[in-house]
Symmetry: C2
Amino acid sequence: MTFNAWMQDIRNRTALALDRYLPPASHLPQRLHEAMRYACLNGGKRLRPLLVHAAGEASRATPEALDACAAAVEMIHVYSLVHDDMPCMDDDTLRRGQPTCHVQYDEATALLVGDALQTQAFVTLADTPLQPATVNALLRTLAHASGSAGMAGGQAIDLAAVGQQLNAAQLEQMHIMKTGALIRASIRMGALAGESLSVEQLDLLDRFGKNLGLLFQVVDDILDCTASTDTLGKTAGKDAASDKPTYVSLMGLTGARAFADDLLAQAQKLIAPLDARSTRLQAIALEIIQRTH
Amino acid sequence: MTFNAWMQDIRNRTALALDRYLPPASHLPQRLHEAMRYACLNGGKRLRPLLVHAAGEASRATPEALDACAAAVEMIHVYSLVHDDMPCMDDDTLRRGQPTCHVQYDEATALLVGDALQTQAFVTLADTPLQPATVNALLRTLAHASGSAGMAGGQAIDLAAVGQQLNAAQLEQMHIMKTGALIRASIRMGALAGESLSVEQLDLLDRFGKNLGLLFQVVDDILDCTASTDTLGKTAGKDAASDKPTYVSLMGLTGARAFADDLLAQAQKLIAPLDARSTRLQAIALEIIQRTH
């Protein structure tokens, strides 16, 4: 299977898994369930599910176990988007080319959609028929990555950083938490969902994940100032307009591109010892950076 | 130990447990962590922790296991209060006699406080050093009770019900989800955290929990129209003012009081077979209703 066909396959699987793991829109409260589905089932790149499945090739996890992990991590990601888009945060009206959840529904519903999606992620993992110790490891990984020491904490730092001058270390810390933690957790969950890997293998994957998270953010910053709103499916130039520190504002466009190249090289080297088990992860890393070139 | 001394002891334990299970305010992001602590460590009746510990006497669970469950369920409860108080929901400025989180901090912070408290509840349980199968059972109980089929779903129904005429069955359904699910989960978690109870015992406790949740809500509705803002520590008369359906608007004050008495009698009868194992739960049920008399 070509890499593109594989990505399409995982995206299709993930849409089906989300459909299966989200409460049906026919169940009470219907409007909330409909809005949860609206937020989750509108396409998107599905980077985190792709990472779960790619890392799952290293652990030879079953597709079913990976589907549950992929759906759970995507629900966390989508919940964060729904809340971030709200008027009291980024106040954005466009997401994945469609009206954001609070625009399509209303603010109170968007608040509850985010809340309930977060819970549903944990419901999904907790109900997965794997060994209890495996389920716990997956839950711990996702919970630690999502909370105030991870994604939500990074968001808080981001809020406080508007209008501030951050240095490279502070910017990195913010992104390691805000987007990096969940990207890293996606890889770790795929690695934990199957056969036990060695501590060394897990560690390599974890360091790769940390690197990839940062790479993703640098690329995001580059795209925010080079791509059009149409291409992105969300408002472009938003970071610069809202005076948010980015890798481009810190290093310039050329510097940010060189930094991305460095991060890619490091990431590729880290998982090279995993050989064939890392093929998909290597391809995803390349895919991420190619959007900027 | 008298029942009052026991309650005070559990409230003190719970404050210490929350302090232990919440990230320190000195950790990055400090403002978020400070706000999470502001929301959690301001007193409150701690009904759910009391229920966890009372049910834990039935399962002879260790105080440490019950502390983790109590802290987790209280974090979920507090997250829901923080989000419910926000301008796009109930727009309330006073909670437990103090400014609500978004008033004390700001809306974006309050949004993240709720998000991160929900996650921290699952972090707390996932990190608890009990048997993996027990941890899973606790996580599943809390997650199912918190999400769109429980607390968050009840909130969505509540939102949709403003200005509507609900019948008794619809009102009950809303409350079973909105407040009942978490009250029931508190009892179930206490029961699951220790020695295995029989299916019959668990079922009795579960039905007691369902009853108690409803009783709590009926009492809450009565207090909303009979007590002062000062006594409640939150804005009184709010439900009537915002045209929300309540048991008082449905049954009148006398009818609501009689319904509460019925629910108490049913609850007491349900766990009578547990004898000495249910002493604290019986006392809590009495305590709940006594506030109205």
